[in-house]
């Protein structure tokens, strides 16, 4: 085969000189992600004593460690789900142009800039036993004793909702704005009321985006660490897997154990994302435009 014909064959498969443009990104990913990941795996497989999988065996044999997986999932899955589900109606209502849209968007997105520590601080002050929230409830006579919303499951959950919602909202908004508004108009003229338009036209086109959004907010929530300690109950109901990894590595100086916990954390995330993306691939994922032109 001539070199030119060979180049054409490669180009048909999408292999040409433009691929070199991916170079910098590939180096970046390799240096910042692949290398640390492989390094972590290597560390986890070299425990001080026992075979290569001793650190993993220890993690799964000890219920105190093993249960952190379930604990983290119990916080992260509902928080991610709530973030996605709450974003949909709000983003849906905020499509199109209206007065004050920019202000409202800013208010909804500001928590992104706060960071987890500041959010935790705020939650402690606001929701704590002597915080405004409880003082108002007590003053109104709704409750007799302060409601406990900090240093337990709910504190962490709320903190994840506050920091995760803006991400979900921004993502869902941008997915929604990619859906051709004339589709719903066509639905309306054909006799579909708002609920039918939403559930039969918009939602099916939005669903793949919701799956992606869920994955992203789930990953954010799953690696929760500061708020689990600051507004949570880090030795009990909110002893999340990152705490287990931290304790192994920096309290017990068991680097293999810490690395194993971190790798397990990554694998659990991969499984959840794999399941969600697997379900997503069953959906219609093509263009969201209504036709040519």
């Amino acid at each position: 085969m001539t070199p030119v014909a060979f180049r054409h064959r490669l180009a048909e498969r999408g292999i040409d000189a433009q691929l070199l443009l991916l170079g910098p990104a590939a180096v970046f990913v390799a240096a910042l992600f692949v290398y640390p990941f492989c390094y972590g795996i290597a560390v986890s497989l070299q425990p001080v004593e026992g075979g290569p999988f001793a650190a993993y065996q220890a993690f799964f044999r000890d219920a105190y460690q093993r249960d952190t997986i379930a604990t983290t999932l119990r916080i992260a899955l509902p928080a991610a789900l709530l973030n996605v589900l709450a974003s949909v109606p709000i983003a849906y209502r905020m499509r199109g142009r209206f007065r004050g849209k920019r202000v409202l968007t800013t208010v909804l997105v500001v928590p992104i800039t706060l960071g987890t520590v500041l959010t935790a601080e705020g939650l402690l002050n606001f929701l704590g036993p002597t915080g405004w929230f409880n003082r108002v409830l007590l003053a109104l006579g709704v409750v007799d004793a302060p409601v406990t919303l900090t240093h337990n499951y709910w504190g962490v959950f709320l903190s994840l909702v506050i920091t995760g919602f803006p991400f979900a909202f921004l993502l869902v908004s941008s997915y929604l704005s990619g859906i051709d508004p004339s589709l719903e108009k066509a639905g309306a003229v054909l006799g579909a009321g708002w609920a039918q338009r939403f559930f039969r036209i918009t939602l099916p086109l939005l669903a793949p985006g919701l799956a992606t959004t869920f994955c992203l907010t789930f990953v954010l929530a799953f690696s929760v660490f500061p708020s689990a300690i600051l507004v949570g109950d880090p030795s009990g109901t909110t002893r999340v897997i990152s705490i287990a990894a931290y304790e192994a590595a920096y309290v017990r100086y068991d680097y293999a154990g810490g690395a194993a916990a971190a790798i397990i954390m990554g694998l659990v995330e991969l499984v959840v994302i794999g399941v969600v993306l697997g379900l997503r691939s069953l959906l219609y994922t093509g263009s969201t435009a209504g036709g040519k032109g």
Binding site: D180, K185, K292
Partner: protein, 360 residues
């Protein structure tokens, strides 16, 4: 849910829509009889889509009302009007097969399952898409998507079908075919259609009546022949292919006609609208109504400047001795720099007031 029922008369009464500070559509009065094919015609931005969206209920009116016989329509949401609409970009549901797209309206009307299937298959046959019924819209060509959009709109037997420039995204050949197809469907299904286009040829060939719009205002309502032969003002004339528009001054009344002077020419034509001697006017004539004189001495002497080959005919730009440019069409072979004599058919030359209703 409404019947989608038949009506005798649909009446638009002063329908007005403002955007920001300006009227996109100002005081549209129109009565549509059952079975009519009405076309809204005008240049881009004149308010055609606005009018259609107001009719469909997709845009609230700023003023005015819409009546179906004695029922007030403009307060109903679009899903309760029982109309069908074909969008300019087709707006097919990309996640539904052709069959599901077409069945959508019937299912929203809670038609029985067997009936939905029967009518959907019938509509698919009507637009010749049997081989593509299970494909997604993204797998179809523009012309096929167009036919899906039409089938989806007519399968519900709407009392009124609205079409917003449905052919503007198709190539020239397909456009001609679909034009005939749409007119055929209109007749065979007994539809009432409001069609929007900026293409005067399309409008003339398909419609029973034309509504010519300009800057949100109705300029003329009439049959294609009326609009074609007697446009109501110089702007419509311009739009309807009167390519020669000459600024002139009225010299005298001559029976039914007027004699005008301008650019060294003395022309006779028929006046449209009241104009008296001495007033400024615009003389308008189509290129095909400018003839080359049979023998010398019969007409105006001009020099050929540009010649365009257009198949059977030539289109030429010529210039008079005083430098007035004119366009003509002829089957004679012409070449640049030829000197010929032309005659402007007085029966086809229209004279309009220079500034109708004060607008430039």
């Amino acid at each position: 849910m409404t019947d989608g029922g038949r009506f005798d008369r649909l009446r638009l009464d002063g329908v007005t829509r403002r955007f920001g500070g300006s009227d996109a559509l100002a005081g549209l009065d129109l009565t549509i009889e059952r079975g009519e094919f009405i076309t809204l015609l005008g240049p881009s931005g004149c308010g055609k889509s606005t009018a259609l969206n107001c009719l469909a209920g997709l845009l609230p009116l700023t003023r005015g009302s819409i009546w179906r016989d004695e029922t007030r329509l403009d307060t109903l949401p679009p899903e309760q009007r029982g109309f069908g609409m074909v969008f300019q970009n087709y707006a097919l549901f990309p996640h539904m097969s052709v069959r599901k797209n077409i069945a959508f309206g019937l299912r929203m009307r809670r038609v029985a399952r067997a009936e939905v299937r029967r009518r959907t298959e019938e509509a698919i046959r009507l637009v010749h898409l049997e081989a593509h019924a299970d494909k997604l819209p993204g797998q179809l060509s523009g012309g096929q998507q167009q036919r899906v959009a039409i089938a989806r709109a007519v399968v519900v037997e709407p009392s009124l079908v609205l079409m917003d420039e449905p052919l503007s995204n198709l190539d020239a050949k397909l456009r001609l075919e679909m034009r005939t197809e749409i007119r055929r469907l209109h007749q065979s299904l007994g539809l009432t259609t409001v069609y929007v286009t900026h293409d005067q040829e399309e409008a003339l060939s398909m419609s029973d009546r034309l509504v010519v719009l300009r800057a949100g205002r109705v300029q003329q309502i009439g049959t294609p022949e009326q609009v074609h032969t007697r446009p109501a003002n110089r702007h419509i004339a311009d739009f309807m292919g009167f390519r020669n528009l000459l600024p002139v001054r009225v010299a005298e009344q001559a029976g039914d006609g007027v004699v005008v002077d301008g650019g060294g020419l003395r022309l006779t034509g028929s006046p449209v609208g009241g104009i008296g001697p001495g007033e400024p006017a615009v003389a308008a004539i189509r290129p095909e109504d400018v003839r080359i004189a049979d023998q010398p001495g019969g007409g105006v002497e001009v020099t050929v400047e540009v010649v365009e080959y257009q198949g059977r005919e030539l289109s030429a730009e010529v210039r008079t001795g005083d430098g007035v440019p004119l366009h003509l069409r002829t089957t004679r072979r012409l070449a640049p720099k030829d000197r010929i004599e032309i005659v402007l058919d007085p029966a086809r030359l229209l004279v309009f007031p220079a500034e109708p209703d004060g607008a430039p």
